[in-house]
């Protein structure tokens, strides 16, 4: 199995790279964990209506892009870290210190289990001494508040589970940008987001960072997906992309 961290923060590049990895990897032989995050962006589900999910005017005013992903599910706002929540030791990387981590678990269709993946995330949080539970919608909850919402994509061969983790996001911006100006005016056949009370993990674990969350999740992923799984690299282009886009944390 392999764990990769996408180092860029461009949402379109990250989503395209995620889709490419999903379609390139032989999921019957390899489980993959991708760890990444986006610069400020609103990402909506494949079947959502942007006019009923986001405040498009506010997005335009703040020059924040919105992106439609390939998976279903609800809207997500990838935000900058709240200024006072940024750890001092990361001062030099302040501009890159984004408050919403994203991860993708790619596996074969037969062994794909939404609940098991959500439990894996909850166990990763326990490694960080955070008690987490999983809701029936496969959201990860801490103290009854949602910290992680997931979306899924399934094909005939493989499936992926990708989700965000609220570490130190600016929730004020989140509320204003995901509150559409057209609220109540448009009836949409699109899939509506399910609003939930949210909280940042930094509220109970002030020193938690994107890097420490990634480490905990990678460790838990490697333990959970144990077995003789070998990554099948397809053609040299795969290696080139790994070298240029990803930081390889391969463990056996």
């Amino acid at each position: 199995m392999h764990v990769y961290r996408l180092t860029g923060t461009d949402p379109i590049v990250n989503l395209a790279a995620e889709d490419w990895v999903f379609r390139t990897v032989d999921t019957s032989k390899a489980a993959v964990l991708l760890l990444w995050r986006n610069r400020p962006t609103v990402v909506i589900g494949r079947n959502q209506n942007q006019w009923t999910e986001c405040n498009m005017q506010a997005l335009a005013d703040r020059a924040i892009p919105f992106v439609r992903r390939y998976s279903g599910g609800g809207s997500v706002y990838h935000v900058r870290t709240r200024k006072h929540d940024r750890p001092k030791q990361h001062k030099q990387t302040k501009k890159q210190d984004l408050g919403n981590s994203v991860f993708t678990i790619i596996s074969d269709r037969a062994s794909f289990d939404r609940a098991a993946n959500a439990q894996l995330v909850a166990r990763a949080l326990k490694r960080l001494e955070i008690d987490a539970t999983v809701s029936p919608r496969h959201d990860v909850l801490v103290q009854g508040h949602k910290v992680s919402g997931a979306a899924f994509k399934l094909t005939s061969k493989g499936a992926y589970h990708h989700a965000t983790m609220l570490i130190s996001a600016d929730k004020t911006s989140l509320r204003s940008l995901l509150k559409p100006a057209s609220q109540g005016l448009i009836k949409s056949a699109g899939v509506a987001s399910v609003p939930s009370p949210t909280m940042n993990l930094c509220e109970i674990a002030p020193h938690l960072t994107h890097a420490s969350f990634c480490d905990a999740l990678a460790d838990e992923f490697i333990e959970s997906y144990s077995g003789p799984i070998a990554m099948v690299l397809q053609k040299c282009v795969w290696r080139e992309v790994i070298n240029s886009l990803f930081f390889d944390r391969t463990r056996t």
Partner: protein, 57 residues
């Protein structure tokens, strides 16, 4: 939106192009997506330009 750092992987490039396209971003909700044409509102035809068709969603 610039994608200067991306490597030349055809699949990644095509996916990025599609995700950045008007059709993908706005064309998925055809019943509610309208285009201004000569002062009137004209309902846009459903445009579904997804590159891939094997997705269950």
């Amino acid at each position: 939106m610039s994608h200067a750092s991306i490597v030349n992987v055809p699949h990644v490039e095509k996916t990025m192009e599609e995700m950045d396209s008007w059709e993908w971003r706005f064309g998925q909700t055809p019943n509610f997506t309208q285009d201004i044409d000569g002062g009137g509102l004209v309902k846009k035809k459903k445009v579904f330009k997804n590159l891939f068709h094997d997705c269950d969603y």
